[in-house]
Subunit: 324 residues, 2 copies
Amino acid sequence: MSQLRKDPIVSRWVIVATERARRPAAFVDPQSTATDPKDCLYCRDVSAKVVYKSHGVKVINSSSPILNSHSPFERRTHGLYEVAHSYGSHEIVIETTEHTANMADLSKEQIKTVIKTYALRMQVHRQDPSIEYILAYKNYGVAAGSRDIGHARSQIMAVPVLPMRVKDKTKGAQKYFDYHERCLFCDMVAQELKIKERVVCQNEHFVTITPFASRFPFETWILPKEHHCDFADGIRGREDSLAAIMKDILLRFKIGLNDPAYNYMIQTSPVKKPLAFKDDYHWHIEVMPRLTRVAGFERGTGFYICPIPPEMTADFLREVDINA
Amino acid sequence: MSQLRKDPIVSRWVIVATERARRPAAFVDPQSTATDPKDCLYCRDVSAKVVYKSHGVKVINSSSPILNSHSPFERRTHGLYEVAHSYGSHEIVIETTEHTANMADLSKEQIKTVIKTYALRMQVHRQDPSIEYILAYKNYGVAAGSRDIGHARSQIMAVPVLPMRVKDKTKGAQKYFDYHERCLFCDMVAQELKIKERVVCQNEHFVTITPFASRFPFETWILPKEHHCDFADGIRGREDSLAAIMKDILLRFKIGLNDPAYNYMIQTSPVKKPLAFKDDYHWHIEVMPRLTRVAGFERGTGFYICPIPPEMTADFLREVDINA
């Protein structure tokens, strides 16, 4: 079983693998990047482990789960530290029955099913009163933290604590709302659509921008044009539109940047929403190709150097011919 | 000139390269890792650019500075965003006249000179009333964000804003002090020295631990045993001791983990210290080998999964024979 541990300085919770930990020596050699389809875990018959399926999308419990709900969530002290066993769930969303690696190559219909699956699983997990946050995210490629690039898949983690960045974002949005009585994200969307220089693509319900204070080259955010704090509820009736804009931006990455590794994370509101969150938080998706290594001081200080202005990357991505 | 831009959501400042930005296409191909000594910039005569030197250590201005003080620091709005030109300074500390790559291979005397140089440059930069924070850090190896592994060097950046993690750390330490009327770091040092399971090595003035809520495998922190908020002042008379413990931990990494890439960052207090900081903040150094890639949700949410418990890495590092 793993542990959830809280950093006493910045109140950051981390998961620490304990019993199933990798041996120290395992870190000395680089990870395998083997992608042979005949060894693909996700091409095999996984029916015994399936917790949900729909139109070729299957959700299974992670085979090496770092979270589980076998015993109740309980925080306790350890001297001046805080610790808990790593309560929660960790699921793998197998996005297609084919051995296709990149979500950019799935049909819009298939991506739509993946999106609906995220929303449905979030609705299930939030019934558990111990769950505070549900993360749906993807690691594509070794540089993005995946072990291989074999078969399109993403992950859903339901955790009993609020991740640090989620706290930062909701607090920041709240401060803005307190002062302006308007949603910060709604104001951002309005400003970006007016200025246009950081808009990569848009459709009826969504806009993709390269954020003004980008941390990483080609960082993009997909923002819903209408206000909604929650992904699982806000996405209803908008799944087609989100599938279309996700395929669009992922194709721009694939064609324009030579099939880079990338991550996306759905940034929805905390499960237990105080009433205020409904007005001041606005769900969105961060999509980040992994083209550079983050240097020490960025990792250690949260102070990033973005080596290219977002206006230039928006321009570049806009001009990629995704119908080529 | 680059820009400093503030993320309106989490109030995170980032540096965005503008005029000297890399072209979008430059991100498509992986970076060069060439390390040929005859092409080494730091082996050449750099005397024209030297701003400080002592016992084989030279400090030069970065040849592609992302910060400069040519015009005064001024924050301004850009719609709902905040921006400033990237005021400050960016220096390279060339740690030796030899073409030695790893600080672990320098003599203690040489490391001591590097440490003294950091302190002296910090004392110079903090005379500038626009400077809020001074970062001294090292990127060793490509995986740690360096362009090559050619010649031992580190960097000093003086910036006119507080990095996000520094704010988080000082705020967290302040909360603890407000409640307990004791320094959080002093309490941590006492607890770690008593429990011992996360102590890697120690000497008269410093202890190296693997932190309880480690984010990364083999993450270590060097903590002064005596309280001091500020590196440049607190290090006086302790330079020998710090040089010894730095060489010790870096040798443990080199021998035990097969010469891994690593970063270290000196986490000193902000330049403009309210009186409170003196009691509740405690300078320290984070040292992190770069053995794994950070996956998407960690980067996006600040929620880390550490694949090995710090007690196990402390044990492993303690047993490395650095006299082999």
